[in-house]
Amino acid sequence: MTRQQVQKVAVGSITAVAIVAVLPIVVIIGFILVQGIGAINLTFLTSAPSNGMRDGGILPAILGTLILTLGTAIVCIPIAVAAAIYLAEYAGDTRLTRWVRLAIVNLAGIPSIVYGLFGLGVFVLFLGFGTSILAGSLTLGIMTLPVVISTAEEAILAVPQRFRVVSLSLGATRWQTIWHQVLPHALPGIITGIILGLGRAAGETAPILFTVAAFYLPDLPSSIFDQTMALPYHLYAISTQVPDMPLSIQYGTALVLLMIVLSLTLVAALFRTRMRRRRTW
């Protein structure tokens, strides 16, 4: 084979491999959509499960997931944004900063089930919150920190240096510069990171297994010390622990979960492209 032929064969096979890698994504989503859409109707979305999960809807699980996502946001956003400001604006190239960065890399790599163990050990047992929305939100919030910190830091670093220089030269203090000049411009990027992080948290099962998730609760939780149902755990429970479970309900639950998580991802993506288009520096 001449090298031009090699080139053709190589490009052809790489293209084929790329198709093999990407095509299943479309198939997976399409398949769940087709199989699950039949189960979705108003009753399914607005009523509690009945007849040992085999009938009725998944409303408590949907609401539980929304509550947990909100809780995650409350725990995660203040710490993550402040930490990102620290890394982007204050941290010098010191040993301490390198430790902080190493800590963030490792937080991102810790398996979600280990976060579950941590939440069980600290929040549920040691601090005595019990299996509760509070314990679950804290666990998910901490797990979401690294994603949000990294994206928020990138967004802050992307604000041009001259904005800061001008502000400082006009006599503004460091914090005034950050608050009035840097953060407003970094905000869209920060929000994108937050939405991405929350999307991931909403779909997680392992961290909530022992910290908050309930197998079946007909009533909605009334305080942050209550347990709640949640979509990912509900899907796990009905697909493995309920005998004779109708497949359509399982697919329907998977579809609802997928839609919630993917719509968050989509919103984040749209936000990012709009922001890039509007940026004029």
Partner: protein, 311 residues
């Protein structure tokens, strides 16, 4: 952006001198930064606190034994560690070539319009919850593998396939960054010397990007070894050590993560079984900590070399 959105200077309450207030804000921000170190330390501390009896009360020979029967007091971790490794090796063998070649396609071959379709698709894959993939593997993939000759279809290979797909976005995006970081001059020089695009990619771009590619592989391994829900559903959860060979991928196995997820709900706090599950958590924590610290070392040395102009 032409004009500042707001007037500079904020109205400060008269009872607080500005300097003092800002001092407090900056302390809080510093504290948030430091909190990440504290959280890692706290996670480690609590894993040790609950899991230490594993390594103190159980003789090491028993702990690294091959029998995991917690109800009869046998806490051999070997089947679980081997199970995790088998699934992970399988996943890496699938995900790395697939991910690397897809990254080459995206970075070197695909026209712009294809890139704009493919990249969001890969981001979507990263967003699919693992329980959804696990569920799908359980209801569709396992029956297919069963028809291929496995008794239940719940095998290490089934898990590897799912994990490979979950690790794929990580491998692709980091490999692509690594390829993108190779200076354009390298490609231009190779092409100017008469090399074909393929020769340029394989002999110039890939070697220049190798440390980034190593990072991609390591983080891919990290993702795969820590995955829980999908492997819990599709690997059969049999705590056996399969015989070494190609056949081991087609045996049911049980991973460390799945063991914690499946058994923690049923044990009483303070029992040895409870402690051992935290002990498994320690092993997992150590493995991913080592992988990620090593990977970030690589990132550090890579940026340093680029700064010195060696890359």
């Amino acid at each position: 952006m032409t004009a500042p959105r707001r007037q500079l200077g904020i109205k400060l309450p008269t009872f607080l001198p500005r300097g003092w207030q800002e001092f407090v804000i900056e302390r809080i921000i510093w504290l948030a930064g430091i909190s990440t170190i504290l959280i890692v330390a706290l996670i480690f501390f609590f894993l040790i606190r609950e899991g230490l009896p594993t390594f103190l009360d159980i003789p090491l020979r028993e702990l690294f034994g091959s029998r995991w029967y917690p109800t009869e007091g046998h806490y051999g971790l070997m089947p679980l560690i081997v199970g995790s490794l088998v699934v992970t090796v399988g996943a890496v063998l699938i995900a790395v070539p697939l991910g690397l070649l897809t990254a080459i396609y995206l970075g070197e071959i695909a026209p712009q319009w294809q890139r704009e379709i493919l990249k969001p698709l890969i981001e979507i894959l990263a967003g699919i919850p693992s329980i959804v993939l696990g569920f799908l593997g359980w209801v569709t993939l396992a029956p297919i593998i069963q028809q291929l000759g496995s008794p239940t279809g719940l095998t290490a290979f089934t898990g590897s396939l799912l994990l490979a797909y979950m690790a794929l976005p990580t491998v692709i995006s980091i490999s692509e960054d690594a390829l993108y970081a190779v200076p354009k001059e390298y490609r231009d020089s190779a092409l100017a010397l008469g090399a074909t695009q393929w020769q340029t990619t394989i002999r110039v771009v890939l070697p220049a990007a190798r440390s980034g590619l190593v990072i991609a592989v390591m983080l891919g391994i990290g993702r795969a070894i820590g995955e829980t829900m999908a492997v819990l559903l599709v690997t059969g959860n049999a705590a056996n050590i399969p015989e070494f060979g190609v056949g081991m991928f087609f045996e049911p196995i049980r991973t460390m993560t799945a063991t914690i997820a499946a058994e923690m709900g049923e044990v009483a706090q303070g029992t040895l079984h409870y402690n051992v599950l935290f002990g498994i958590g320690i092993v997992l924590f150590m493995m991913t900590f080592a992988l990620n610290s090593l990977a970030s070392r690589f990132v550090g040395s890579q940026t340093a070399r680029r700064r010195k102009g060696q890359l």
